[in-house]
Symmetry: C2
Subunit: 435 residues, 2 copies
């Protein structure tokens, strides 16, 4: 089929009529599908069911260090769990402190603490006139929600295939002392699935921040979330890169098992330098006695070690991969020739990022919703929910069963076509008027 | 035996010699005992072992509302868990939001949020020149640690058998707009084991705060933690009392199962008015996706309902009661006649509070430590760790096995005697010099 931009007004009009007829039919099916959030599917959750009773009435509930995991104490978390989580990102246990059930919560705490208590002795951010964060976008909406909640000014940094635009990052970080942080998902970025290049990671490590309390918020959410056994991308380990570059305290790394075991019932951790962890410990001793060590023990006994985690993640990949491929196939078949958008084929993570024609994203998501398919709100991947081009749409293929997912993807493709046709029609109409 | 205060100098001197000989013997035993923190014993923890595999590979992991508890979502926590926790304190589920594994963490969050975002729209506390909290003391050291961490000025309120000195509470709360909160443990107070009288609870409800953002931090930590089946004290339900008195938004109530099931692996909750919970929800949506619903489900399936929780708590009481009684017996036998301190016989909670002669608490705890018994630091139960009389010592009988506990209590009694004798000797010496 011909690309829409090359169609005549009449061709577009007849295409529109055909699409509208299809859309009417779809609506009559009264679908109720969801491609909105990166939630694991039931098949994925089933993979971790043996973890549920791995601790049982007869279990030894002492950790390797002799702590009774049922009782208070061990604020930093079980050593064996810190070792396990550290091994997933190449960091020794001494640089890892366990958090609760959510790395998002650890990020929130980190910002909240910086607001009230500063960073390792710096002025509390709430006492400053201006605090800014760099936000590579499209990015993770919940990151931006945290910075927005605390009134932090967000500066959008464009994304490239190699990661954030590092010229811009260096410019802002190295010259503006109000820039206190940057949100990063270095591996299989949310939503594009890009992986930061080695050079990007090293340029991060070599930053020369104008602010002593500048920190990189390195959300390694998808560190082991590969889609292909033979295409597992690794990135340089950021803590040691920063240390080698003379910036040992510049990064907080966040890790979680939410998408390894159970979403919301996993364990989270923060990895950082001794100085940073010492400061965090001062807060932790006040805010909690200990996190849930039974869940930590459950995870260690079930996940065992990094090799076993990788084997476990390949089972996830077996379930996820066909879904990603099915959506990509629908996009290829339905949209490629029409030149009405572009998308990225990721090798890991949870999302497919789709860029529609400018000004079409909101209209597409609304049309999709009208047809009974929920997607992430257009613009959600940008600071303040505002996509300057109104173009980016995040597709989350993980949750629906394959058959439903294909239906949803087809509805999506149909709506992309419909909105794109309308855009071109309206453009042609203005041209005609103008002529 | 004669009370020390009635002994002559020589009698005291020979008593001291006898006690020092005993103390030397005790030190030679190289004891390693701990009466420091309110940690449940292994026997208590064993009571909840069936909870560990109550969810297993074959389990139905859907809640009553059809939520898959293994996945993201249900931010407020499972309705059935909110019902269960609410039932323990007489509050409907709609007024309960589940937290993480620690009510202390919920309290920290509440203060932290008030610092950065105010209370239901009030000025953030970090923007105010002065923020004060009332601290009934002796009280819970970790409460005071939170307020101290945030630089909040703490005002000590004396405790009575009926609860905090309400004349003072009313004076401060009703006249000083900088007073933003008060820490309360209304039932089986930490450390004295007092229960607020009905009149105290109602005077709290009838406060007329000068500050619109004044809140009562009602830490109902020991709501079901009775020591005697036939002496279970109940207090008026604070939320409805406040509502009836025209102060519906004045209280945050905190509840946790840490000392019902597993310490640090329980579930916590906050109970409050709709207005307060609505404001909390705004923060929660930013700080987390959901708390650990699998642990909530585990708790609901194990604990079932309030009646079953009471039956379960009576099993705890069977283990705790003999320990309390053993310590009290040692105190009675060793110290009563000597008039070197006073103590309270609690009907619930986790502690026995001992008041030594003025100026003796630090010395006693140090001597006890030298003999191999760890106790809570003297003064810990007071704001800034400063007991004005240096008199209060918290005894935590729960953790050690009965036999060890009796040894530890005897060491404690010996040290009380030794330090008290020294105090009287030094007083007599000064009198003699003065004479």
């Amino acid at each position: 089929m011909k690309a829409y931009q090359n169609m005549t007004y009449d061709e577009l009009l007849s295409e529109k009529e055909a699409l509208e007829a299809q859309y009417k039919e779809v609506k009559e099916q009264k679908l109720n599908l969801n491609m909105a959030r990166g939630k694991p599917s039931k098949a994925q959750l089933a993979l971790s069911m043996p973890m549920l009773d791995i601790l049982n009435s007869e279990s030894d509930i002492m950790d390797d260090e002799g702590n009774d995991c049922r009782n208070y104490g061990v604020m930093e978390g079980l050593l064996e769990c810190r070792e396990l989580i550290g091994s997933l990102v190449g960091v020794p246990a001494e640089n890892v402190i366990m958090g609760g059930n959510s790395s998002l919560n650890s990020m929130y705490n980190t910002i909240s603490r910086s607001m009230t208590h500063g960073v390792n002795g710096s002025t509390p951010w709430c006492k400053l006139d201006s605090v800014k964060f760099l936000c590579p976008a499209p990015g993770y909406d919940r990151h931006f929600a945290i910075t927005e909640f605390f009134g932090i000014t967000m500066i959008t940094i464009p994304m490239t295939e190699d990661g954030p635009d590092m010229d811009m990052v260096e410019h802002y970080v190295n010259t503006d002392p109000a820039v206190k942080g940057i949100w990063c998902v270095p591996k299989y970025t949310n939503p594009q699935g890009y992986v930061y290049s080695d050079e990007t990671v090293r340029r991060f490590a070599r930053l020369k921040p104008a602010a002593e309390d500048f920190r990189i918020f390195w959300d390694n959410a998808y560190c082991v979330h590969h889609l292909y056994e033979d295409k597992q991308i690794e990135i340089p380990e950021i803590l040691s890169e920063c240390a080698a570059a003379g910036n040992p305290d510049m990064v907080y790394e966040f890790i979680s098992t939410s998408k390894i075991t159970f979403a919301g019932s996993g364990v989270a951790a923060i990895a950082s330098s001794k100085n940073n962890l010492d400061f965090i410990r001062k807060q932790m001793t006040v805010m909690t006695i200990s996190h849930d060590k039974m869940n930590q023990l459950r995870h260690v006994r079930f996940l065992k070690d990094a090799a076993n985690v990788n084997a476990h993640m390949m089972k996830h990949a077996e379930i996820m991969r066909p879904k990603f491929e099915a959506v990509l196939q629908v996009l290829d078949e339905e949209l490629k020739d029409l030149e009405v958008g572009s998308w990225i084929k990721p090798l890991g993570g949870y999302f497919i990022s789709f860029d529609a024609l400018e000004g079409c994203a909101k209209a597409i998501v609304a049309k999709v919703k009208e047809a009974g398919v929920i997607m992430t709100g257009a613009g959600a991947a940008y600071p303040y929910g505002k996509d300057p081009k109104d173009s980016n749409i995040r597709i989350a293929p993980s949750l629906p069963p394959l058959e439903e997912l294909v239906s949803a993807a087809k509805v999506f493709a149909l709506c992309v076509k419909l909105v794109s046709v309308e855009k071109y029609l309206s453009e042609k109409a203005s041209e005609t008027k103008a002529g």
